[in-house]
């Protein structure tokens, strides 16, 4: 990707960061992996791939067989469904959970954090009080409480993750806004006659945007991993609705002792690269945007 890095012309901190990312082997490979999974999820969404995942292909729990074509490569499940197709379908669920929980957590976190940090005073007290209350409920128990209140399903998982995870982001953003609002460049904008909106949106926000991007990447990591656990606990997708890696791994808890390992292996093999890619990408982003923090 170095040839691409050389093509970036700008000299802003962003193009600097992008150049550094493109020169970073881990970052580029992570990006490639993420792109592959996103494309896969989109194909599943438009029913272009794996739409026949619920069809029975053969005997129940047939072991992996390379001779019967790609759909049998990872064996069949209890209903004779192709594990390969289920795994592909699961990609969509994983990306959906990551995306939707981010879309809930990030706007709330950024808005509350920015308002609390920038304005301070009673607005800050109120938001801090509210987020402290949420943060005081152990996350896992809150997830359960929300899941009980809303009923089971993938959407519940997304909402529960979104609602529990904005607090951390809001705290980060609040601290950054408090730091930046007294920086001289922001005071200068005030002295030049710039109003609150200009100072918040044009001056401070671009300087904290990297936190939002990093947090977006890390939300996917948490989202994908939490979906598995919540599904195992019986709070996530229910059998028959859609396929998910969580369901496949949860099923394995009963099947493994009977020697049925392929469902677990397929889901783990699918999950590992994407979670790793999002983690590495977040790390690389942090390094690229703020080289000072590099250790």
């Amino acid at each position: 990707m170095k040839f691409l890095a050389r093509k970036i012309k700008g000299n802003s901190l962003w193009s600097d960061a992008l150049r550094r990312l493109l020169n970073d082997r881990f970052a580029t490979w992570s990006f490639v992996v993420i792109t592959v999974y996103v494309v896969m999820a989109i194909l599943v969404f438009f029913n272009l791939v794996g739409s026949s995942w619920q069809e029975s292909m053969g005997p129940s729990r047939e072991a992996p067989d390379l001779s019967q074509g790609p759909l049998h490569w990872m064996g069949l499940d209890i209903f004779g469904r192709s594990v390969v197709l289920k795994t592909i379908q699961g990609t969509y669920t994983a990306m959906y959970v990551g995306l939707v929980s981010s879309l809930i957590a990030i706007p709330i976190g950024v808005l509350f954090g920015a308002v609390a940090g920038y304005f301070g005073g009673w607005v800050d007290d109120l938001i801090t009080w509210f987020s402290t209350m949420l943060a005081n409920i152990p996350e896992f128990l809150l997830l359960i409480a929300i899941a009980i209140a809303m009923g089971k399903g993938t959407t519940t998982v997304c909402i529960a993750l979104g609602v529990t995870s904005w607090v951390g982001l809001a705290r980060l953003i609040r601290a950054e806004f408090m730091k930046h609002k007294n920086r001289e460049y922001v005071v200068a904008a005030q002295a030049l006659g710039g109003g609150h909106m200009r100072r918040i949106m044009k001056h401070i926000f671009p300087n904290v945007l990297h936190i939002v991007i990093i947090s977006f990447s890390l939300r996917f990591v948490t989202g994908i991993k939490s979906e598995v656990i919540l599904t195992y606990l019986g709070l996530g997708a229910e059998i028959g609705q859609r396929s998910s890696w969580g369901l496949m791994i949860a099923d394995a808890s009963g099947e493994l002792m009977q020697g049925v390992w392929w469902g677990l292996a397929a889901a783990t093999a699918a999950m590992f690269p994407i979670v790793l890619a999002f983690s590495l990408f977040a790390d690389a982003l942090r390094d690229a945007i703020d080289p000072k923090l590099r250790h």
Partner: protein, 583 residues
């Protein structure tokens, strides 16, 4: 000089730093000696390699990214770069010790200062705990810490900056080192404290007969204490000589520039000389222009210079919270009943030490901080309580330039966007293209090329950024500018350029300034009238000449006597004046 008189001999030292763009030479084959019992001043601007040199002598260059790539540092004949780390540890803090620029962060916050001093004694001298404590008390006494038996158990945060630097010095001299390295030890301190610390270092050096390597960006600071001076410029030594010789007969244009650029206290030049008057960017000497001296007192008339700003009994109190319910228990009176007025086209200097309230005052006048009491009158209109919209309109006339050129520009905005933004806010100067053309013109005015428009702040040096800030302030065509320590963070040579620029702009646009600084020499040069502030109150108010010649207040006198003379005492005593380098 026989070789036994030489304590440290640096030979062809080379240091490289690896960066993303490849290795960069920080130090380029430098050689110099530190004689026994003498002080060597190492002078240069930031990035000249002076601190790296001292860290190399301690073998403390952070690696990666830094690395010594060649040369020798002979200490008593032993090459410090060749010995093992274990042997080096026996030298650090024992034979060679070091004090740093930032007393605030250089001490470990969770240990008492007594422990941190005693630790060195126990490590190198094998003292027991009680012996080390007794000696620590003695050391604290020697460095002038009041009430040492109590302060020995204090934590660093319970001490002032000056006291912390004294603790650092106590720690450094505990083992009676042969060499003390002082890396800008007074730069972060107020002028009066700076003077005390310099005096202390000089006393201790004589008492313990140690050698000292004193690193600074300001030749004036070391005029009194250095025996020899080494001048560094971009990783090279450009000149080294006896201090007197350096001051009397500087040979390199860079040294000449450094000597000439400090605002003089006795005469009043129209413009300050800068390094660039003596040499081109690539280091070639050129003939400096002659200095033009003017009458320090500028006359004014009621008609041409009416009062534009009047401040009456202005107060800003910050609440201090405490108690069980976190209620307001007291107030910190940052600005406490200040009154003065400023006339059009003139400069009011505002002098005081850190924490005296001068920055708060400057920001309160512009309503960037809401005042607690009193009145601010702008051209007769009371603006103390006017709403945010009329105030926003008024901001076109009143501007501010800050201290830290690194923090005062938005790192995500191009220079062009930064300069056109004020025009956009006030909807002046037509459309984007017109505004950009005007931004180009403003850049030219502050001495920057037009191509800077599309660049980002991180691509510029501190002095250039300060020029950009000035251009941005000028974008709204203000009449009045508060310069809040606007040259304090800059190297002396750059400081002179910015001061000249501010003077030129004032002349051209008939600007009115409030110039806030802790440096009386700078204020004397640029201001017509001076206010001296202490603890939120004005202690003295007079013309700049008057304040300097006949200070009435005790505090003003203290500030004045703390200004480094900038001339070696030996020369002053013999009545020798420095040559005029531009004659």
């Amino acid at each position: 000089m026989s070789s036994s008189d030489i304590l440290v001999s640096v030979r062809d030292l080379e240091v490289e730093f690896s960066t993303r763009e490849g290795p960069v030479k920080a130090i380029n084959k430098i050689s110099f000696d530190i004689p026994r019992g003498k002080t060597v001043g190492l002078v240069g601007e930031s990035g000249s390699g002076k601190s790296v040199t001292s860290l190399a002598a301690m073998r403390l260059i952070p690696n990666p990214p830094g690395q010594v790539t060649g040369g020798q540092i002979l200490f008593n004949g032993t090459d410090l770069l060749k010995i093992s780390e274990a042997e080096m540890r026996k030298i650090r803090g024992n034979k060679i010790s070091m004090i740093f620029q930032e007393p605030m962060t250089s001490l470990n916050p969770v240990f008492t200062v007594g422990y941190q001093i005693a630790e060195t004694l126990m490590l190198h001298q094998g003292l027991s705990k009680s012996q080390a404590r007794a000696k620590t008390l003695d050391l604290l006494n020697q460095v002038g810490i009041p009430n040492p038996s109590q302060k020995i158990d204090a934590y660093p945060h319970e001490m002032s900056g000056g006291q912390k630097q004294r603790v650092m010095i106590a720690m450094a001299i505990g083992c009676e080192p042969d060499l003390l390295i002082a890396d800008e030890p007074t730069t972060a301190l107020d002028v009066t404290i700076q003077k005390q610390v310099l005096d202390l270092l000089q006393d201790l050096q004589e008492k313990y007969k140690m050698s000292m390597l004193f690193i600074t960006h300001d030749l004036g600071v070391i005029a009194d204490i250095a025996d020899d001076v080494v001048v560094m410029y971009r990783g090279d030594i450009v000149e080294k000589n006896k201090t007197e010789e350096i001051f009397l007969r500087p040979s390199h244009p860079y040294t000449k520039g450094l000597l000439a650029c400090r605002p003089p206290l006795t005469e009043h030049p129209r413009r300050l000389v800068t390094v660039s008057d003596f040499m081109t960017v690539d280091g070639k000497e050129k003939v400096a222009p002659k200095i033009e001296y003017v009458n320090p007192t500028r006359s004014f008339t009621e008609a041409a210079n009416p009062v534009v700003l009047e401040v009456k009994d202005l107060k800003k109190h910050f609440p201090i919270r405490g108690g069980i319910f976190g209620g307001v228990v007291d107030h910190f009176k940052a600005v406490d009943g200040v009154s003065f007025s400023v006339r059009k086209g003139r400069t009011l200097g505002l002098v005081g030490e850190s924490g005296c309230g001068k920055t708060t005052l400057g920001r309160t006048i512009l309503r960037l901080i809401e005042p607690t009491g009193g009145d601010i009158l702008w051209k007769g209109q009371n603006i103390t309580h006017i709403g945010s919209e009329p105030m926003r309109q008024l901001r076109r006339q009143m501007q501010i330039i800050f201290q830290d050129p690194y923090a005062s520009l938005n790192p995500r905005m191009t220079v062009g966007a930064a300069i056109t933004e004020p025009m956009e806010i006030h909807k002046i100067h037509g459309q984007k293209a017109e505004r950009l053309a005007r931004a180009e013109h403003l850049l030219e005015k502050v001495g920057l090329p037009a191509k800077a428009l599309s660049r980002y702040p991180h691509e510029f040096s501190g002095g250039q950024r300060q020029r950009i800030c000035i251009a941005r302030a000028l974008a709204v065509e203000p009449e009045f500018i508060v310069c809040d320590e606007s040259v304090s963070a800059l190297d002396v040579s750059i400081q002179a350029q910015i001061l000249n620029l501010l003077l030129d702009l004032q002349e051209e646009m008939n600007l009115t300034y409030i110039f806030i600084s802790h440096d009386l020499a700078v204020v004397k040069f640029i201001a017509d009238d001076v206010l001296v502030m202490n603890k939120g109150k004005i202690v003295e108010m007079a013309s700049a000449e008057e304040i300097y010649k006949n200070p009435r207040d005790e505090y003003t006198r203290k500030l004045l006597s703390a200004i480094p003379k900038g001339v070696p005492k030996t020369l002053l005593d013999r009545g020798i004046t420095l040559p005029n380098l531009n004659a």
